[in-house]
Symmetry: C2
Subunit: 254 residues, 2 copies
């Protein structure tokens, strides 16, 4: 299923973005050694598959660069994007706790560089090390909060508000004033991630521009007034911008 | 915030539904003793509040009977039901891993009997006991799978399919033939749980009846052909009925 370009045995310790994750820092020394012996750096081309829903889960991945689309597909070929994961994220790391199978498909939304590691090593880590189990719990806690926010958004916000929320969150917590941002990936991918068909997305984007004066030109977005955009978006949400997770992320980076 | 009818100090060991949960079974003996000393059985009236979003989390709950509505509310009073939790479920048990605050509101959808326990004791259990941390991980894994299924449904299924899916899942995995089922709670609550306004729900229910010959009379539902309903519902889903979690639940009960 996977077409590989180079295929280099790699030591995870050589990759600072992996080494600094809470999950990796919590791993016992012997597990780190196992990972170093079984970790492979891969380049994966756009649209190539990393995981297939309901397949046995042998590998999980750490993204060094590029975007991974995690999705589910009906027999008719309709696709629900569950999430887009970027550099610094794990993919498929929960499978060993969820029946040892992948619960979704995953594919490269663009050319990827990833580290591939065996699920069995992570399973061993969590089952033998309390600190690894606690790190895994923190990961689940963050995932649950993200998913709950998205469920709320799908149930309460209309289409222009959901697009506005996506754009607003690119401002990374900046509270007011104007801002230029770049969309992280293409508009058609954003539309499916937000659960919209192409024509719904276009109409809703038009309404968002008219209401909040946001300008979108290809992948470039100009927000003339973050406060005005937040007022429009957060009217359909139980929280207010800047969202708590953005503030925490900014604090961690500071 | 909470109006209590009786207020009895209770030993969790006296409640088999709690005693048999994976989380409770994993607790070390000293933690069980702490819980026995701090657990209170409460009766909570319909619409009374158990948790307020963003409030410090002092207590979590175990539901003995009744339904709890977990929801979020915008400043304008619009409500997104995140989930309905029934007898045998915990409420607010994740808060100590999510910044020690409640991430949603929760209220009694009907008169409730619950056991109230301190979050601090659960926090101590998970931080000191590897087996408690692993039990908590299993709980998160099941929650993530439920939330992922709901995200998929909101993005892929139309309104009649979502209502049909809700009804189909009441058949508890029975694969074919006809079946009479009772809705677990009122239609207006089902509508908000599915993310629909009342009028959308009514129109979609009409379409579902026409297409699949399902009959709904008050809280009673007659499904003349489970296979026909499943064919209609699962066309918008990556999985097929009976869903994996229903099969696992039936196996656990067998």
């Amino acid at each position: 299923m996977l077409k590989l370009i180079p295929n280099n045995r790699s030591n995870p310790d050589n990759f600072p973005t992996l080494r600094h994750t809470a999950l990796f820092k919590a791993l016992p020394t012997n597990i780190r050694a196992s990972l170093a012996a079984s970790c492979t750096r891969l380049t994966i081309l756009k649209n190539e598959t990393l995981m297939v829903q309901n397949d046995p889960a042998d590998w999980f991945y750490f993204i060094l660069s590029g975007w991974v689309k995690v999705y589910r597909e009906t027999q008719e070929g309709d696709e629900a994007v569950i999430e887009l994961l970027g550099a610094g994220s794990f993919v498929g790391e929960y499978a060993f706790l969820e029946g040892d199978i992948h619960s979704s498909d995953a594919a490269a939304a663009e050319k990827l560089s990833v580290l591939r590691m065996p699920c069995s090593v992570l399973k061993q880590a969590v089952n033998t090390s309390h600190s690894a189990a606690l790190a895994m719990l923190q990961s689940y806690a963050e995932k649950r909060q993200r998913q709950t926010r998205e469920l709320e958004s799908l149930k309460l916000q209309d289409a222009p508000q959901r697009i506005g929320c996506f754009i607003l969150r690119q401002c990374q917590g900046k509270p007011s004033g104007s801002r230029h941002v770049k969309l992280p990936y293409g508009k058609s991918l954003i539309a499916t991630e937000l659960g919209m068909k192409g024509e719904t997305f276009s109409r809703a984007l038009g309404k968002l521009k008219n209401t909040t004066h946001v300008g979108v030109n290809g992948g470039k977005v100009h927000i003339p007034d973050i406060g005005e955009l937040a007022e429009f978006v957060c009217a359909g949400c139980s929280n207010e911008y800047p969202c708590k997770d953005l503030v925490e992320l900014a604090n961690r980076r500071a």
